[in-house]
Amino acid sequence: MKIARYGKNMTIFMMISWRNMWRQKRRSLVVISSMAVGIFAMIFSIGFMNGMTVQMVENTINTTLGHIAIHERGYQKNMKLKYNFFPEERYYRALERSNLIKGFTPRVKIKGMISSSETSRGIMLMGIDPEREKTVSSIYHYTIKERGSRYLSDASSDEILISKYLAEKLELEVGDRAVFRIVDENKEMTGFAMRIAGLFESPVEAFDSSVVIAGIKRLQKLSGLGDNVSEISVRTKNKNAVDAAKEYLIRAIPDSHREILSWKDMEPSLIGYIELQDKMIYIFFMIMFITVVFSIANTLIMSIMERFHELGVMKCIGTRPSHIFFMVVFEAVNLGMVGLVAGLVITVPLVLVLGVTGIDFSFAIDAMRKWRIGTMVYPLIFMKDIIAATVTVLITTVVASLYPAGKASRIKPLEALHFI
């Protein structure tokens, strides 16, 4: 009963603090706008980071990682040609049965050397089924389809796709032949030449500089693998379905020689990076908001000095110290929340628009490709970021108001009354 009454009183103090906030409009607006700018910086850079991270992950998945891969056990630790397996018909049937899975494709991966008349480099030869590959990776989209460059026509031809980057390094052009040397299944060194059918360009530098794509059947023959493959790469309908699809496959393909891993299992450093980035950004903003704490505390102290007399009156007529305390805290929270809303009103539409149009970073193309991002960044904000901003503002303002609120609540009514 007493507590209910106390709580009901809070609405009047919220109202008083709201109106108090607008008594010194200019001063409050300074605090509100600094808050809004802080929120803008926070949401915008979080959006930017999110966009980069998502693109980094997407690009890695879209080049070779896929969502899920089926390997011979041991391949993940040591990507050697000897870890190959025969893709049984029942694997494919299991993959086709699941409605979580959008596509899947077999691949062969062989380490080797590529040479032109100029130079040679260590690379990874990746054998693909050109049609199936389209359902899993974006290699088809990365392929340049002009000036004679085109995608692979079939899985057994003598053609390869090579990145524009490698072509330039090796001084090769579409139609030229490149020479390869590999160590085959029988540990024999073999060499062969293949013709460049097309060039590709992905957003991932590491991929472009180290992968050459050929037909899977041709590579199986050249390496002596027969019908065996290095992996079956799987794409799920969306990223949220990955874990469920992995569980499904582990149950559907109960073979102890197979290893079924999701992209998170295969690239744990990517997850580590995302987590680290999340933490860093919050620490960064906590530090940034410390300055906001001082600006709010300062404003509140000035307000309290100006209202010394009326605080005295309020106390004389029976207002409890805790009421005054909350009134000051509310005023800070009000300032923060108005700043938050103002900040969000500016930032969210901007981020949403830029999320569609993207921000062009082609001037920093090399760095962007190193980080697997591509040249455009599409900022992206999640609900959790808005909630984090709100919590940050709440914590900041409450912390900022504690000292002034404590001071105000301890004002001696008589002294304050004399003060006009």
Binding site: K8, I12, R19, V313, C316, T319, P321, H323
Partner: protein, 246 residues
């Protein structure tokens, strides 16, 4: 029982090591329903006495009972609650919360007391009409004249029908005519609602309104007389039998 009972009250102020005795062995009882003025020259201790009665200041020695409670044993929170529940305050000026309207200022007390919304609004409106501000209820203090502000302060002081209203020079900032109007109002409320009023003044005209006049000089009560109010019987028709509403 007396509403105020003061025994041997002494109050010393210490300013830079020099003790100033503001009140000397004050003995005073006030009965319910009295309309009392405390008069005296500047520095005679009027404000000090009212503040001690209101629990805003503490005595150096002596005992003070207000509404049956010994103020010395009350905690700060207890004193705060007593001021809220039992005492109405009117100060010299700037009594009101600037960001609240006249109506909200009056409602404020009832709200702290936990009165429900409907009743609160109704009572505050009625009181504001009684003090002649029925049309100004939605104005903020700065949109009211000094006299109107003091009327709102009176309305706020009595809206919860307290036992006692303490008014420290309530008319000091008002012109003669406005001051007289405010005193008429206080006097009428004193009669109709049987609320005890104690106000301080050094204005002859104001003293004339009192039914009891206590004179202070240098912290000593030099005279204490029951008398006829100037306006009594002229404006106010006093009901035969007064009964508290509660």
């Amino acid at each position: 029982m007396a509403i105020i009972n003061i025994q041997d009250l002494v109050k010393d102020y210490d300013t830079n090591g020099i003790a100033v005795r503001a009140l000397r062995n004050v003995v005073l009882t006030v009965e319910k329903g009295e309309f009392t003025a405390i008069a005296g020259p500047s520095g005679s201790g009027k404000t000090t006495l009212l503040n001690i009665i209101g629990g805003l200041d503490s005595p150096t020695s002596g005992t003070v009972h207000v509404v049956g409670k010994d103020l010395a044993v009350l905690s700060p929170k207890g004193l705060s609650d007593m001021r809220l529940e039992k005492i109405g305050f009117i100060f010299q000026a700037y009594n009101l919360i600037p960001v609240l309207t006249a109506l909200e200022n009056v409602e404020y007390i009832l709200l702290l007391q936990g009165t429900g919304k409907e009743e609160r609004r109704g009572r505050a409106m009625r009181i504001l009409e009684e003090v002649g501000l029925g049309k100004e209820i939605n104005r903020r203090p700065k949109e009211l004249s000094g006299g109107q502000q003091q009327r709102v302060a009176v309305a706020r002081a009595i809206v919860s029908e307290p036992e006692l209203v303490l008014a420290d020079e309530p008319t000091a900032n008002l012109d003669q005519k406005t001051g007289a109007g405010l005193l008429d109002l206080m006097h009428e409320l004193n009669h109709r609602k049987n609320i005890t009023f104690i106000f301080s003044t050094h204005d002859r005209m104001v003293m004339d309104y009192a039914e009891r006049l206590i004179s202070l000089t240098d912290g000593i009560i030099v005279s204490d007389e029951k008398k006829k109010s100037r306006r009594e019987g002229a404006v106010i028709t006093k009901p035969k039998k007064m009964k508290s509403k509660r």
